[in-house]
Amino acid sequence: MPVRFTVNAKAASSDLPPHTPLLWVIREELKLTGTKFGCGAGLCGACMVHIDGKRAFSCQTQLSDVQGRTVTTIEGLSANSSHPVQKAWLAERVPQCGYCQSGQIMSAAALLKDNPHPTREEIVAHMSTNICRCGTYPRIVRAIQRAAREA
């Protein structure tokens, strides 16, 4: 029986084995490749998506877990990169290689949704789930502060 769920406001279903990580379903089957594979172990955050509005490691979420639930990926975060976090990301010129940035942005968007004006310490605590090997961390902090200001 296929697992049925919603991705970026569209109905989706998958016949893959129910224990398949959501990551591979959305990337390879639904072709939403903005969500990245980085570690497969919930250690780097490159795969971060929102499930029912909360951030989640899609590499640690089984397909069967999302039956009937609502998933948002980077592609569905906004139309035309208009989310305040995305705008701030460009204003601060955050990305370098860019590979981790979808996950960073999804984490940051989840933070600001729950806590529109986080302190620096709150930003650091929340964002330390996500690794950026290019070391864009100083700019990520600035971008989140800017998004909080300008949202």
Partner: protein
């Protein structure tokens, strides 16, 4: 955002065939290719393509020869052409150059297409300026003819030729509609180039072209490529280079739904599957079900024991070595010295940890005589040649689609491009296109490391404390013979990767001898951001601090003394000291300084640390840095790259450590290979010291200075010297005991 948004999805073929109007291709590396100046119409269907094409609507396509891994060259190199062309940047779109070495090759790497060593802007700068000026000259000549005026009366504004006398103007697009391209490129003299004070683009910040696609998930990396009919695969590689599968029990693998079959390779076992997770599960199921032949050199190798052996050898004057560099007469000078100081240092293996695990997609024709590959590589040349070699076909039969790279750091520029070969061999076996994905565990286990090294340093001081002799012995696992045997042979057997940063040409050290103790452990090794500099500068700059302490002088004063003939070096040290308020006392914290003249880019860094003595954890609170890379084509990007290389240096200095047992790497993912997270990051302030020197590199210059700066700061705080990188808590505690 801008017209650039669409560039990433434009294929080369669109540009080659679709661009009506002018095209130009004057060679950067070989003048005999200058005849490559052709019109787009003539070019259709031919294998040569241009640097610049201008369409009648005024849009300008500029080829970018460097691969993009976050360092920004995809934007910076075309900006150089656009500057001298006097192009309206909003009308420029950037297209990755096709893999034609003769036209697009990197002058810094003998004309290979290879993005590494922080040298894209440095090496392409002069040719691209001249080339941009040549295109502008052709436009001016055509406009002069059309307007029937002397060319000397014409000037340009962005994308417009102006005849001020008559008030007439022709846009570049208008000229493109009628222009003729001369058979020979116009001769451009240095005086024909813009004065730096007239630069509109160089030295001014701009949105990097691919950035908008990196905030909405549309940027495409190799791992994102999908080809119709494609299968997925993983490859379990022998844990030690040279090993081969001797016995495979794939019973458990066959039970996994979606698995098609295993494929025995010379160096590992591949699994073909219908979907990626089946291939990943199969790889896990294979883990303990393959017996490996113990061919290859590194079996039995233990990195802890090797570190002891390396350290003993550098201390033993009788241990065989070769002279890497000898200037002046250090032996004679040591005899005159009134004080001799000696010390030794160690550096562990470290791993690149680029965020995108290695992967590639390949499709091999049924007859095996042609192949298509989709990959993120630092060298288009190596990628094509490696595949051609494995399939025994001509290079031109390998069609390359190179994508953005999810990090490079040196990992994706090995001559054998083994992660691409995985895909080629699996595609050949499958008879279908295949995407091979390395798991993070594969990426670590099959990683190619910054090598293990031991360093012995000896300095002779005269009665005034001046350093009059310097001697260093370095035992280090080889890199270049493994990573790139071709370059190693061209370099006549000198491993320039591991021995970078030992010459100190801008320090006042005229009498210096450097010995290399060549080691070949068989461990997989690689150029890694900072290459030899990181290890060699860790030793040398910490050692200088020991000398300063012995002389009881300020470490800044010692650097300034050594830099007496290098004002640019003094300038960055002085600026950095001002930024950090060097002389200011701090409670429970201390500062440490390091300076590097990294391939002609002087950079200074100061760190502020505190220390938890019970746990041995070093906390870095602040990093200040001043860098002078000459003309900065894209200043904000130089700052970003320096922040980045500083963070990379923090990880390598404090927490990143690879250990090897029985030849195999023990770590496997981010829980036991700890790269910096946001919680580990200090305040970082980087300043560009602007000069008009020829541009030099900016991609990795901050990495080497961090380790010694931390060691020096901990010494200032505790009086204890940390001599082994990374400076992990257990090592700190031992040093404090």
């Amino acid at each position: 955002m801008t017209a650039h948004d669409r560039t990433i999805n434009v294929t080369r073929r669109d540009v080659m065939i679709g661009a009506l109007g002018l095209t130009f291709a004057f060679a950067t590396t070989r003048l005999d290719i200058a005849k490559a100046a052709v019109t787009a119409r003539e070019m259709t269907g031919k294998s040569i393509s241009p640097w610049v094409s201008i369409a009648p609507d005024g849009s300008i396509s500029i080829m970018s020869p460097a691969t993009e891994m976050g360092q920004g060259s995809m934007t910076s190199l075309p900006r150089i052409i656009a500057e001298e062309l006097d192009a309206d940047w909003d009308k420029v779109r950037i297209v990755p150059a096709p893999p034609i070495d003769e036209v697009y090759g990197n002058p810094g790497f003998q004309g290979m297409l290879y993005t590494a060593g922080s040298n894209a802007v440095r090496s392409y700068y002069d040719p691209l300026r001249i080339f941009g000026a040549q295109v502008r000259r052709v436009l001016l000549d055509n406009a002069a003819k059309k307007l029937n005026v002397p060319v000397a009366e014409l000037t340009t504004q962005p994308s417009v030729v102006v005849h001020a006398k008559s008030g007439r103007k022709l846009t570049y697009g208008e000229i493109a509609a009628f222009a003729e391209v001369p058979a020979k490129a116009p001769d451009i003299k240095p005086a024909d180039l813009k004065k730096p004070s007239d630069f509109r683009l160089i030295g001014h910040d701009v949105m990097r072209v691919e950035l908008p696609n990196k905030v909405n998930g549309s940027a495409q990396y190799a791992i994102d490529v999908q080809v119709p009919g494609m299968l997925y695969a993983t490859v379990l590689r022998a844990p030690v280079e040279g090993g081969a599968p001797a016995r495979i029990d794939d019973a458990a693998v066959k039970r996994i739904p979606g698995v098609i079959r295993t494929v025995k390779l010379d160096y590992g076992v591949g699994v073909l599957a219908q979907h990626p997770y089946a291939a990943i599960e199969a790889r896990t199921a294979l883990l303990n079900n393959v017996t490996w032949s113990r061919n290859g050199k590194a079996w039995g190798f233990d990195s802890d024991k090797a570190a002891d052996e390396f350290a003993a050898a550098v201390r033993d004057p009788k241990a065989p070595s070769t002279i890497w560099d000898k200037r002046g007469d250090s032996t004679g000078q040591f005899a005159k010295a009134s004080t001799i100081i000696e010390a030794d240092y160690l550096n562990d293996y470290t791993y690149h940890a680029q965020m995108e695990p290695l992967n590639a997609v390949a499709s091999v024709s049924p007859s095996g005589d042609s192949c298509e590959i989709w990959c993120g590589t630092q060298s288009q040349t190596m990628a094509q040649e490696a595949v051609a070699k494995v399939l025994n076909i001509p290079r031109k039969q390998v069609k390359l689609h190179d994508t953005l790279l999810g990090g490079g750091f040196g990992r994706r520029g090995h001559r054998d491009e083994e992660f691409i070969i995985d895909a080629v061999l699996m595609a050949k076996a499958a008879g279908k296109p295949v995407k091979v994905i390395w798991t993070r565990e594969d990426d670590v286990h099959n990683g190619r490391m910054r090598p293990l090294s031991a360093h012995y340093l000896k300095a002779g001081l005269d009665k005034n404390g001046k350093i009059i002799a310097w001697h260093q012995r370095i035992a280090v696992d080889r890199v270049l013979p493994f990573a790139d045997p071709v370059r190693y042979e061209n370099a006549k057997g000198r491993d320039g990767i591991v021995m970078r940063g030992v010459e100190f040409l801008t320090y006042d050290l005229p009498d210096i001898t450097t010995e290399q103790l060549y080691r070949d452990t068989g461990v997989r090794t690689s150029p890694l951001r900072g290459v030899g500099w990181t290890a060699n500068i860790f030793a040398a700059e910490a050692f200088l601090d020991e000398i300063a302490a012995k002389r009881k002088i300020d470490p800044v004063a010692l650097r300034l003394e050594l830099l007496k003939d290098f004002p640019r070096g003094r300038a960055v040290v002085q600026r950095c000291a001002e930024m950090a308020e060097w002389g200011k006392k701090r409670d429970g914290r201390a500062l440490g300084l390091a300076f590097v003249d990294y391939s002609n880019t002087p950079i200074a860094g100061i760190v502020e640390v505190s220390l938890d003595r019970s746990s041995g954890v070093i906390k870095v609170h602040n990093v200040w840095s001043a860098i002078d890379c000459g003309t900065a084509v894209h200043p904000d990007n130089v700052i970003a790259q320096t922040e980045s290389s500083i963070v990379y240096g923090l990880g390598m200095s404090l927490s990143e450590r690879i250990t090897v047992k029985d030849g195999a790497i023990k770590q496997s993912n981010f829980f036991d290979y700890r790269v910096p997270r946001m919680s580990d990051i200090p305040e970082i302030k980087v300043e560009l010291v602007r000069t008009e020197n020829h541009p030099t590199g900016a991609g990795q210059m901050g990495t080497p200075m961090i380790g010694p700066a931390i060691s020096n700061a901990v010494f200032a705080l505790t009086g204890k010297r940390l001599r082994q990188s990374p400076m992990t808590p257990d090592r700190v505690k031992r040093a404090l005991a």
